[in-house]
Amino acid sequence: MNALERFRAKTRTWLEENCPLSMRTPMPEEERVWGGRQPKFENPDSKIWFDRMVAQAWTVPAWPKEYGGGGLSREESIILGEEMGRLKCRVPLFSFGISMLGPVLLKYGTPEQKAKHLPPIARGELRWCQGYSEPGAGSDLASLKTRAEDKGNHYLVNGQKVWTSYAHLADWIFCLVRTDTTTKHAGISFLLFDMTTPGVETRPIALISGGSFFCETFFEDVIVPKDQLVGKLNGGWDIAKQLLQHERGMIAQIGRAIGGKVPPVYKVAKKYLGDENGKIDDPALRDAVVQHTMNDRAFDLTIKRAAQESEAGTASGGASSMFKFYGTEQNKKKFELIMKCVGTNGLGWEGDEFDDDELMICRTWLRSKGNSIEGGTSEIQLNVIAKRVLELPD
């Protein structure tokens, strides 16, 4: 038995002994653990599982030990993931600090910044949110206007961010700000600050689908110490690009996750349209449903192929834009089809006259419209494919 095999055996044993049984079941959204100054554990087992994983530093298994990480090698991390998958262990901690800020700090942060911020992220002690988009800067993110003025020993931040997910629940924010107004991309910096700093206000945004975790966040004369600048002054755009790539992938997943709560279209169609002789009882809709179903399958196969190509090092690029575009458009079509199948039963906003599934269909149909906007619109993805993959001229 080699070292990796020994690691796998040990890990398996540890997981079997330490992961509570209730933490091996599919997780309802409300049981997600986000950590922070006021952590919430809807399920007591969540806390046990969270604490044990934190103690192992396996919330961030591959981070260096000096910054609170597990210090595992790439191979060991993969094995840990595989073993957790085998037992269907829940993710112990959801965190933008882990998924987004951490990699940025590891790459761009000073030793002091790493030492200060990474361990609390690893232990889930602070909850982070991001501040990228602004009302005037959507697809054209680099046109952002939130100003950070150099006041000698601190920056003074003024401006507004939108789509700051979970900002109303976050302790700290990592934020793109303008530090030079005479240039566009080269005048952006990356700042960190505490959401309790005076002058920070945040409020959730009501969407067409109802309340949301998205927020508007306002900064009025917010004082940020200079050592909370990450990377070079005016060097924030490189960091932004790295973060956006990540966000794009996340949102394609979210699109699929949103869809995932609803049974496949053809099952909804059978339920609401009937299926004499086993066939959906509206032949025109049946044709639309099967076409959609086939495209889903083709899309899944393409994701699988891209993963294999990526592993083999033969990936051709453009995949993430294609997945973001196609996945979100496909999800929108799925809900339009479902709405057609469900008829007036899909039109309920709230109340007892509709069952929960039907109410969820309506809300999710509305929410799906955002998939092709957030994280880079469909139009932006098509532009990227045309430029990067097809090399069409500007």
Binding site: S133, S143, L207, I208, K340, D352, E353, L366, K369, T377
Partner: protein, 379 residues
């Protein structure tokens, strides 16, 4: 023959445009929604509309109506669609008034029609029982006995059902669900014993209700039209309603499109208005074509109704199907082209999408009407 508006119709359209814009803008619907208003519409404003004759557009002067015809009513509906105004135009003016006029007894007409014209009486048609429009599938049972009829069953998606003073209930008096024969209509008081009305809160913030009939007893004179043979008159009035609703949807589509084009002109990204991007231009031009086509079908169908032409059923399906296809395209594109702001409840464009899907399902969606059109054309 003419697909244009005459002077009278143009004036009516201009006037209603101003009226809805001033009195019933989308903010009024939002206020009703957020205030959890129990009726879901503004009865005072409805009386004002009635004073201007809109409740009696389809009715002859005998009953106090102004007899402007469907083409006139179409203009009112189109303009009401622009502001998504919540009114009983569809339930009372488009559905109930012509039904009573067509098959009502003299007494029923005298009792009901002038009260509709004055804005005092609101009626609702209780028709649907399943989530998809299929009039012949009516199962709600009306049993005759010596004193009248006893109604048992349930209705869903009854537009204005929770506020209607009276209901026109489509029932089955013989045959089985699916048969076009065996349907009869009854006038039922909104407060009848055994009738339960539950308002449904729909995505469009407009008004509908589910009704249950538990041994609801009606007198013999509650029968509206002939026994067992309601289907013909019902379908005829439904065709009028399909066309009228298509006019409303046209108005919503035109307004959502107009707002989107305006947004494309003012929203800047990358230093230029996003309306300068050719891909968006082409998609906007496509929407323009679909709106123009829909408009033509609506005008032809309204004209055919007034001329009592035999191709009304075909044209009703044509107009409703086109309106459904158009509004789905236009509202989806409107939200997408508004970007993030289009996803917020604060921005009004989302209201058009919400109303659109309800209107699409009302009186048959595009698929229903494509199938019906093909059948009517013999293929």
């Amino acid at each position: 023959m003419s697909l244009l508006l005459n002077e009278e119709q143009t004036l009516l359209k201009d006037y209603t445009h101003s009226f809805f814009g001033e009195k019933l803008p989308i903010s009024a619907l939002r206020a009703l929604r957020d205030g959890k208003n129990e009726t879901g519409f503004d009865r005072d404003l409805w009386r004002q509309m009635a004073e201007m004759g809109w409740a009696g557009v389809l009715l002859p002067e005998t009953y106090g109506g102004v007899d402007f015809g469907y083409k006139g009513l179409g203009q009112v509906l189109e303009e009401s669609g622009r502001t998504l105004a919540a009114t009983p135009l569809v339930s009372t003016v488009l559905l109930s008034a012509p039904l009573v006029l067509e098959v009502g007894s003299d007494a029923q007409k005298q009792n009901i029609l002038p009260a509709i014209v004055s804005g005092d009486l609101i009626l609702a048609l209780a028709l649907e029982e399943t989530p998809r429009h299929t009039p012949a599938n009516t199962a709600l049972h009306a049993e005759a006995d010596s004193d009248g009829y006893i109604l048992n069953g349930a209705k869903t998606f009854v537009l204005d059902g929770h506020i209607a003073d009276q209901l026109i209930v489509v029932t089955r008096t013989s045959g089985a669900p699916g048969d076009v024969d065996g349907l009869s209509m009854f006038l039922v008081d909104g407060g009848a014993n055994g009738l339960t009305r539950k308002r449904t809160t729909l995505v469009d913030s407009r008004n509908a209700a589910n009704l249950t009939f538990n041994n609801v007893r009606v007198e013999p004179d509650a029968l509206l039209g002939p026994v067992d043979r309601a289907y013909g008159a019902l379908e005829a009035v439904l065709d009028g309603a399909r066309i009228g609703l298509a006019a409303e949807m046209l108005g919503s589509g035109l307004e959502a499109f107009k707002r989107t084009i305006e947004y494309l002109k003012i929203r800047e990204q990358f230093g230029v208005p996003i309306g300068s991007f050719q891909a968006l231009k082409h998609r906007a031009a496509l929407m323009f074509c679909e709106l123009e086509l829909t408009k033509s079908t609506v005008l032809e169908a309204l004209t055919a109704l007034d001329e009592k032409r035999s191709d009304v059923p075909q044209l009703a399906s044509l107009a409703k199907a086109k309106a459904c296809e158009m509004i789905e395209l236009v509202t989806n594109e409107a939200v997408q082209m508004h970007g993030g702001i289009g996803m917020t409840d604060e921005e009004e464009i989302g209201f058009f999408m919400k109303r659109a899907r309800v209107a699409q399902q009302t009186f048959g969606d595009a698929g229903f009407h494509r199938d019906r059109y093909a059948t009517l054309m013999g293929f």
